[in-house]
């Protein structure tokens, strides 16, 4: 996901399935982390009263999570590591929910231990991993790269479990492992650090055959430093750590499988089973052993036996297996907690008393369940915010009962959302309106709610949808296909709401509908491929309304569909790695291959279509990727790691005419159930970009006036930043990345620069023109100006901290004409292209530091208020949002305010995101150089499209990027503006935000804080409410005063300016240079407005309207 993409999740009534496979509690006992079979991680908040509430879901793994572990010293960095079935590993920050590091290794881990030895190790420590491979792997905790491994000299085998023993007595750390064959092995840890770092082979120190299989846990008793607990599935044993002699064996009774255990105190241990029971034993010395002297003269071994003290159990054994853990913290206010997670997604906690005792009569005491919670509980509790996107409409339809959406499809070109329901109806709505109705207060008051369409034709729940025109423009725009459980596929005309044809496939439920790629045609038409749940595949010809082929021989689920255009073959890849080749014309099975041959066949055809619903979770992330790909590829210059198995053909088609849209809906399906939800994606950058040119192109001059004010302010920000850039550049000396850029920008004399810029400018323009000629006419981007504004309003509604300040809420509704949220929204946060987190309903109560009053308020964290205050303190008193004309309910003013706010948010977003981008994007050194180059000479829109992909190598550079990007937005005004009108405050604001970035303030927090501050400022300026603002230093208000003094004059001037600007010639080579020189030298002093204005006007000559060329330039390069 792109960083400027903001996601809002619209959950339904049903929680997404979360079959827990791994569970842990963080060291601060604040967060429970669970990993699921579906591949997501869930963060649960654990309050001081041991109450659980789900906070957010982390998406990133495409396979079942196998283990979780701490990845750092938790008090320093709240990082955990997760490993998945397919070898993916991720390091997550559990406070922000962001993925810090990721890697995919060809190893499947089943257990991970974090090890750090501060005085012998550099770096962040090691992750000791074991799993489905021989011996123990050592992985660097920071980079996730394999460092080395611990090798065994005898009986190398898979390792089942391990533990690190830190013995204070001998000052040596050891690694104890048990292999699948039941072999106990010991490695020296601390003394072999050097050897490992020098990549020498380190072999085990000791090994002993334990005689049991399926070892689950090995634990060392830190209290006695003597006992070793080893839990096998059928028994548990206690060994003496000194010589590994067996002290005790306890065999499981009534068919229970042990799953783990822990030493909870000296001679006291806790054993848990796979079905969720646990037992606390006291180890007692048997008196018998005292009298029993070993005959062979060895040292006396006391024999011990266990005494059952307490037990725990769950109410009913709902679903096996349970994954359990125990957390032992001795310092207050921490608890001794036993926790378990079930496949059903339920978490249960038991508070284990410090001194567990049995009943008076000696029988074991039952420890009651302290808390239990599921994701669904969260959804039920926060019912108001957990509605599906369609609820409002389906509610309208039949009054009672809401339809369960079983499939959905979003058509970006029409902004329509098609939802297939469980009862067989298909609802088609305007997506933005549906989202508004769902999110905002007074849903029924959404006046302009357009008529939604209800298509009735299916008798069973609709399982898949396809809008062919979205994949190939050649097909009829009104066609839509839907498939249901009864294996009936209907071709609809969505304009007339008619059924054009019904195909009865007589197979299983239609799990997915695909379309052949553009180059594959049969009788001049692309064909539709239906994959059914009985593993059969049917091909449909839409024009001919006929079924071409029914392929029914597949024994395993269909994973992949490929098309062979030359020979008219349909190649079907199944889950068991076999391949079926069907001849389409005759409908005969041409070949069936397995193994190596099958692999070769699948690899040789490049056009592949992944059957989505077979791998819903994987594809879900992939969908994200593809969205990302679609929207970002226009900007893409370097090679992007392409997800190998996406619906590439469709992707390409979409690319050809894809205009990044400010608003998108992403339907998400989940595995093993039909619970789905939707994600709204707001492209902040695109929004700003779409909104900005509008005032300029508007005929209405007053509107352009406001627009230009916005531009000017934003631009001045930009200019100021250049200065910082320059300054820091000289300060930090030549950086390798700048080696090229520097001489150009600094060593060249001014005249040279002019020439250079002229040339450069010219060339670039020519290029652009060429490109634009080649490209198709730009997609209509102005179709829905109102839609864009609506999107922007919805976006602002989502971000505003409603409920913090009632007056402010009121003013926002009144002046910005936006609606209040129904409840806190579930925001998404992307860490990189395929790792992101989504807040769950009820996340707001998780902010433990949040004051009680603020629960139910859309405030992302307590920090936001402080940040906002700080921001407002730096905000200049008057230079707020453009304002002026008295009728402040004016819609123009409102829209300009929105534009201003959005551009602000975009800047903040960019600034805060920078380091992340640095981390993610490598390479593009060349363009990195170009940044300053271009900035100095062109300094405008031309490279708008490239800035994103460019790698910034340091903060200075990134600032450069940012400037470029901002400047590109305001490019229209750039030429005209070489005066500096920079409030000092802007600089400090930037500093402040950069500072936040360093303090690891989350993007969402920063955005909300800035929004809050700006809105408060704005509202204050409206003079309606006394905002509790800090006294603002008057020193910097020169500009503002002047403005106040000469407001009228300035307006008129601006007006003129605007007119001129609108009629600027295409080429104005002088002005950018002017500006450049100014920004280099003069800008820093506060130059007066007036003289510069004159210069500006002189430098420009009337000509063609500028904005056209601007758009012409931006659009082609984005489409390219």
């Amino acid at each position: 996901m792109r960083t400027s993409l903001q996601a809002v999740a619209l959950w339904g009534h049903k929680a997404p399935p979360h079959s827990i496979t791994a569970i842990m509690i963080t060291d601060d006992q604040r967060t429970i982390v669970t990993g699921s079979q579906e591949g997501q991680l869930c963060l649960w908040n654990l309050s001081h009263e041991l109450k659980i509430s789900a906070k957010e879901l982390l998406f990133g793994h495409s396979a079942s999570v196998t283990c979780l572990a701490r990845a750092r010293d938790f008090s320093k960095q709240p990082y955990i590591v997760s490993a998945a079935e397919n070898g993916e590993m991720c390091v997550w920050n559990v406070t922000s929910g962001q993925c810090v590091e990721k890697a995919t290794l060809p190893y499947r881990h089943t257990a991970i231990c974090y090890y750090h030895c501060s005085f012998r190790m550099t770096g962040e420590g090691w992750l000791l991993c074991c799993g489905e491979y021989q011996d123990v792997l050592i992985i660097d905790a920071k980079t996730l790269a394999v460092v080395h491994s611990f090798r065994s000299s005898q009986f190398p085998d898979w390792i089942n479990c391990m533990c690190i023993v830190h013995s204070v007595r001998i000052q040596e750390d050891s690694l104890l492992v048990v292999s699948v064959a039941g072999e106990l092995k010991v490695w020296d840890l601390s003394s072999s650090i050097n050897g490992i770092q020098e990549k020498r082979d380190v072999y085990e120190k000791e090994s002993k055959f334990l005689g049991s299989l399926n070892c689950q846990t090995i634990r060392f008793c830190t209290y006695t430093e003597r006992l070793l607990l080893v839990v096998f599935s059928k028994c548990w044993k206690v060994y003496d750590y000194c010589d590994f002699s067996l002290l005790l064996t306890e065999v499981s009774r009534n068919g229970q499988f042990f799953a783990g255990g822990e030493m909870i105190a000296a001679h006291r241990l806790l054993i848990w089973t796979e079905d969720g029971h646990s037992y606390i034993y006291q180890l007692l010395n048997s008196g018998l052993s005292k009298s029993l002297y070993p005959a062979d003269g060895r040292v006396l071994k006391e024999s011990i036996y266990p005494h059952l003290l307490c037990s725990t159990s769950v109410q009913e054994n709902k679903s096996r297996p349970f994954v359990m853990g125990y957390m032992n913290e001795r310092k207050e206010p921490f608890y001794k907690v036993l926790f378990s997670g079930e496949v059903s997604g339920r978490i249960t906690l038991w508070h284990i008393p410090d001194v567990p005792v049995s009943k008076f009569d000696g029988s074991p005491r039952e420890i009651p369940v302290t808390t239990t919670w599921t994701l669904q509980d969260n959804f039920d509790k926060h019912d108001a915010v957990s509605q599906s996107i369609i609820d409002y409409f389906s509610g309208l339809k039949d009054g009672a009962g809401t339809a369960v959406v079983t499939s959905s499809e979003y058509i970006p070109s029409l902004d329509k959302l098609i939802c297939g329901c469980e009862d067989g109806t298909i609802i088609i709505t305007q997506a933005l309106n549906a989202a508004k109705a769902r999110l905002l207060e007074g849903g029924s008051l959404v006046k302009d709610s357009p008529p939604h369409k209800v298509l009735k034709g299916h008798h069973q729940s609709v399982t898949s949808l396809l809008y062919p025109h979205g994949l190939s423009s050649k097909l009829d725009q009104s066609w839509m296909l839907s498939g249901d459980l009864d294996s009936c596929v209907i071709l609809w005309d969505i304009v007339t709401e008619e059924i054009l044809h019904k195909f009865f496939l007589e197979a299983g439920a239609v799990t997915s509908l695909l379309m052949s790629p553009e180059k594959f045609k049969l009788r001049g038409e692309q064909i539709i491929c239906c994959v059914c749940s009985d593993h059969s595949v049917a091909l449909l010809h839409l024009e001919g309304k006929s079924c071409l082929l029914r392929a029914r021989k597949h024994l395993f689920p269909v994973r992949m569909i490929k098309w062979h255009p030359v020979e008219n073959f349909l190649i079907v890849g199944c889950a068991d790695d076999s391949v079926y080749i069907w001849e389409i014309e005759t409908g005969t099975l041409e070949r069936h291959e397995t193994g190596e041959r099958a692999r070769i066949i699948l690899n040789c055809c490049d056009d592949s279509q992944l059957v989505k619903s077979v791998l819903p979770i994987a594809s879900e992330t992939l969908k994200h990727k593809s969205i990302e790909q679609r929207s970002s590829s226009p900007y893409q210059l370097g090679p992007l790691p392409c997800p190998s198995l996406q619906v590439e053909s469709s992707c390409k088609v979409a690319d050809a005419k894809f205009c990044p849209r400010p608003f998108n809906v992403l339907p998400v399906k989940t595995k093993w159930s039909n619970v789905g939800f939707h994600i709204l994606l707001f492209d902040l950058e695109n929004l700003v970009e779409l909104l900005l040119p509008t005032p300029l192109s508007d005929v209405d001059s007053s509107s352009s006036f406001y627009g230009s004010e916005v531009l000017r302010r934003a631009k001045s920000t930009v200019e100021k930043k250049t200065l910082t850039l320059r300054k820091s550049k000289t300060a930090c000396g030549p950086l390798s990345a700048e080696a090229q850029a520097k001489p150009i920008t600094e060593s060249l004399s001014q005249g040279d620069t002019i020439k250079f810029s002229e040339e450069n400018d010219g060339i670039k323009r020519q290029k652009k023109m060429k490109i634009s000629k080649k490209m198709q006419p730009k997609p209509s981007r102005k179709v829905d100006a109102s839609l864009t504004v609506d999107t922007a309003k919805l976006f602002l509604s989502c971000l505003l901290p409603w409920g913090v300040d009632k007056d402010l809420d009121y003013l926002c509704i009144k002046h910005l004409n936006i609606l209040k949220l129904q409840g806190p929204i579930s925001l998404g946060l992307a860490s990189n292209e395929d790792h992101f987190s989504l807040m769950l309903p009820g996340w707001d109560v998780c902010n433990t530091e949040m004051i009680k009053d603020y629960s139910g308020v859309n405030l992302f964290s307590r920090k936001v208020l402080d940040l906002s205050d700080k921001y407002r303190a730096t905000l200049p008193d008057q230079v707020g949002i453009p304002r002026g004309l008295e009728n402040n309910c004016d819609s123009l003013q409102e829209s300009n305010t929105i534009v201003y706010l959005l551009s602000r948010l975009f800047l903040v977003n960019k600034l805060v995101n920078m380091p992340l981008e640095l981390a993610c994007r490598v390479g593009r050194l060349q363009d990195g150089n170009d940044v300053s180059d271009v900035w100095c000479t062109l300094g405008k829109l031309t490279d708008f499209c490239s800035f994103r992909m460019e790698c910034a190598h340091n903060k200075v550079r990134s600032a450069g990027n940012d400037i470029l990007n901002m400047s590109s937005f305001y490019g229209c005004s750039r030429n005209g503006k070489n005066e500096s009108h920079v409030p000092e405050a802007d600089l400090s604001l930037l500093k402040l935000i950069s500072c936040w970035r360093d303090q690891s303030v989350q993007v969402t927090e920063a955005i909300q804080a800035v929004l809050l501050a700006e809105v408060q400022q704005h509202m204050k300026c409206l003079g309606k409410i006394p905002v509790n603002s800090q006294p603002v230093s008057m020193a910097e208000n020169g500009n503002c005063e002047m403005k106040q003094m000469l407001p009228k004059l300035e307006w008129t001037e601006e007006l003129e300016l605007q007119c001129i600007r609108n009629t600027l010639p295409l080429q104005t080579p002088v002005s950018p240079v002017k500006h450049d020189s100014n920004s280099n030298s003069a800008n820093f002093q506060d130059v007066e407005d007036m003289p510069d204005r004159c210069v500006l006007e002189e430098s420009e000559s009337p000509g063609e309207p500028r904005h056209h060329s601007w758009i012409a330039k931006v659009c082609p390069c984005k489409v390219s």
Binding site: Q134, W158, L213, G424, S461, S533, P557, D576, G595
Partner: protein, 287 residues
């Protein structure tokens, strides 16, 4: 729609009954069958702890190729380890016979067999943890179990069917070359792997490339079987493969195991399909 729902009310009752039977009886029957098959498979791997404790029995395999008889090998397999190996190589140039064998004290673990064996035992463990006393409540539960079992079985099968693709330096560095009693001559490389049901031995004859050779040096990538002409750098030397000899021998019990894997995978899928049929009737609940 309402009519459809009503009409099927009676039908639904029957379906529910049938589904209950499926969950309570049929699933366990299939699981039992699966267990039996996999136990049989694991016996082939002579799993430790499967009743026959003690050293696994030794089997001798004579490896040859149908074409030339330049390389002959007798490999002794003990469970998942090669305990003895005798390789005879007739040098193509001078017809000189080379003989080398494993050192007495050493064994070479065949990682592929060990992994396959471990995957099977994981699958068995998954199945045994849901014995007859366990009641499945939902179909999804069965599907998840089947997915987990199938994952292990697929991996077990893939381990045998896809040998590791190694680069020549990796083969040179592997411990196998150091296993032989008269140490291998420096111009020979040996690799042993499993491919499907066959135990394969490859011997690469090498010759050093002259440093001023006109041939442009391009190191070969990873491959199961390198072809003559593949080049690589080892130490400070640049070497080229001059001859490749591959001999193989079918291991009967591996064949059996592969068949068992395929059969049990199909059983799993059939059970999943049965469950899925019902799931479509109760799409509103996590069946």
């Amino acid at each position: 729609m309402a009519t459809v729902m009503a009409a099927t009310a009676a039908e639904r009752a029957v379906l529910e009954e049938e589904f209950r039977w499926l969950l309570h009886d049929e699933v366990h029957a299939v699981l039992k069958q699966l267990q039996d098959i996999l136990k049989e498979a694991s016996l082939r791997f002579t799993l430790p702890g499967s009743g026959t404790e003690g050293p696994a029995k030794q089997e001798n395999f004579i490896l040859g190729s149908c074409g030339t008889d330049q390389v002959k090998g007798v490999l002794t397999l003990q469970g998942d380890a090669l305990s003895q190996a005798d390789v005879n190589l007739k040098m193509p140039r001078n017809n000189q016979l080379l003989h080398f064998a494993f050192r007495e004290d050493k064994q070479w673990k065949l990682q592929q067999i060990q992994d396959a064996r471990n995957h099977v035992s994981q699958a068995i463990y998954l199945l045994t943890s849901r014995d007859e006393s366990y009641q499945f409540k939902t179909g999804a539960e069965v599907l998840k179990l089947m997915d987990a079992v199938m994952l292990q079985l697929t991996r077990a099968r893939n381990r045998l069917t896809t040998p590791a693709t190694l680069t020549l330096p990796e083969i040179a560095a592997s411990g196998l070359t150091r296993m032989f009693a008269p140490a291998l001559p420096s111009d020979l490389l040996v690799n042993v792997y499993i491919n499907l049901n066959k135990l394969c031995l490859t011997v690469y004859q090498l010759h050093a490339l002259q440093p001023n050779s006109t041939k442009n040096f391009r190191p070969a990538g990873g491959a199961v079987l390198h072809s003559p002409g593949a080049m690589f750098e080892w130490g400070s030397q640049r070497l080229e493969v001059s001859h490749v000899h591959k001999v193989e021998c079918v291991i009967p019990w591996l064949n059996d195991a592969l068949v068992y894997f395929t059969v049990s995978l199909q059983l799993c899928q059939q059970l999943k399909d049965k469950i899925s049929v019902f799931s479509s009737y109760w799409s509103y609940r996590p069946f």
